[in-house]
Amino acid sequence: MQWEVVIGLEIHTQLATQSKIFSGSATTFGSEPNTQASLVDLGMPGVLPVLNQEAVRMAVMFGLAIDAEIGQHNVFARKNYFYPDLPKGYQISQMELPIVGKGYLDIPLEDGTIKRVGVTRAHLEEDAGKSLHEEFNGATGIDLNRAGTPLLEIVSEPDMRSAKEAVAYVKTIHALVRYLGICDGNMAEGSLRCDCNVSVRPKGQVEYGTRCEIKNVNSFRFIEKAINTEVRRQIELIEDGGKVIQQTRLYDPNKDETRAMRSKEEANDYRYFPDPDLLPVVIEDSFLNDVRATLPELPPQKRERFQAQFGLSVYDASVLASSREQADYFEKVVSIAGDAKLAANWVMVELGSLLNKQGLEIDEAPVTAEQLGGMLLRIKDNTISGKIAKTVFEAMASGEGSADEIIDKRGLKQVTDSGAISAVLDEMLAANAEQVEQYRAADEAKRGKMFGFFVGQAMKASKGKANPQQVNELLKSKLEG
């Protein structure tokens, strides 16, 4: 049987506010346990929440960025359940009237196409604390520093049909929230966490299959692996005559398997109701307009502009636009070097692989945009060849200075003096007299192949510095002659 995979995602993004959503505690990551847990965060008797304006602004910003309807009258509700990292016994969240309604995201896929994924809603809520399981003689330790950190939970439609699409969607969200500056996107620190709802159905069937939710998958790689693993499990289960049970599961990357969460075995009845300690949040048009005015150019617009303005392909444009830092870097290089295709190529290929190798982000790149732009200028004015440029680039990466300095210091300047090139060629041809004889005796088709040999020898003899075009021309006339 042919199976179709159906995936919907819930992404929790920690908003990059200074203080918590309902208290004045700091949100700094990695502090000593419970040193950032105030009376409100601890759920002490008698305390009350007051909403952080910045969290509201950031949520609205996200809503506008995905072209969603903004809940101009949105309401906080209590989600009631007992868990030690949930101090009040309820989480303040939003249920019926979220701050962000239906919207969508266009996600670029690897094959160069764009897929539109629906966003059902996004709502504000408070994060829970953390349970630490080790070293307490069978007890669990509770750290409530994270409790009350603002979260924007972004819920997608079940629009994705493969793990790869799901990853592309998460990457798009990841890029977007960083573009907007509303989340640092640090998945290792849990700033962006993903719950994956996965089901399978026979191809052609309209109804969805029973879904399982894989909780808290925290890297792009694990999202793909966890979904694929879960899909395999569900298909095998059904093909063996079993039935998928709606469940919350955890992905174990070490064993590459998912397992049912014991703490979620019983169906929860969360008893949502409007939080009586908080009033409805009313977002005035003026607030909306103010936020709209601060929106930066977003990835889709940037991608389209890169295509139109620079004549880049969809793929190149979307890769370059995928992070604000990379797009800014690229545009700076273009502004210096004036050649967008050349710049795109260097940023994506050479710089990309350098960063990859060194495990660095683009804002930590050892070669600045100014340096790279300066080097591309030297390619364009024939000071260096593309091949020599790689040497210059490596030298820049190891801190030897600007392209001009390196070219100068290392004597990498391309030789364009015809006399000098001619002398090098004469010497080379003399050293390869036999091959010259063969070349002259050969027919047109064979000559073509043999010509490359002489070019190689010439470049070698000039240590790569001879202008390749001049080498070609001079060589041709000498061999013909």
Partner: protein
């Protein structure tokens, strides 16, 4: 529709209350009489009436995003039943 003993046990579980076995019949009877009182609401016509969650129908005020809290862990944990290394302790949690 009266609650049965098993319903009361379910509600007690939802509310995380350990009911004393001997009190169950009395608790069941009390809950049924209270819900009987609540059921009187069904006779009221509320068609087209918006629910009222807050008497004054005001809007939420927003606070500036400023850190105002300092570390008070020692004072706050001095009233806790069990702490170690700054963490609150509970019996082992299984995910």
């Amino acid at each position: 529709m009266a609650l049965e003993r098993s319903d009361v046990e379910k509600i007690a579980h939802l509310a995380h209350l350990d009911l004393v076995e001997a009190d169950l019949p009395q608790t069941t009877a009390a809950l049924n009489s209270i819900l009987g009182l609540a059921d009187q609401m069904q006779a009221v016509n509320t068609d087209g009436i918006e629910p009222l969650a807050h008497p004054l129908e005001a809007n939420q005020r927003l606070r500036a995003d400023v850190v105002t809290e300092v570390n008070n862990r020692e004072a706050y944990q001095s009233i806790a039943p069990a702490v170690e290394n700054g963490l609150y302790l509970v019996p082992k949690v299984i995910d």
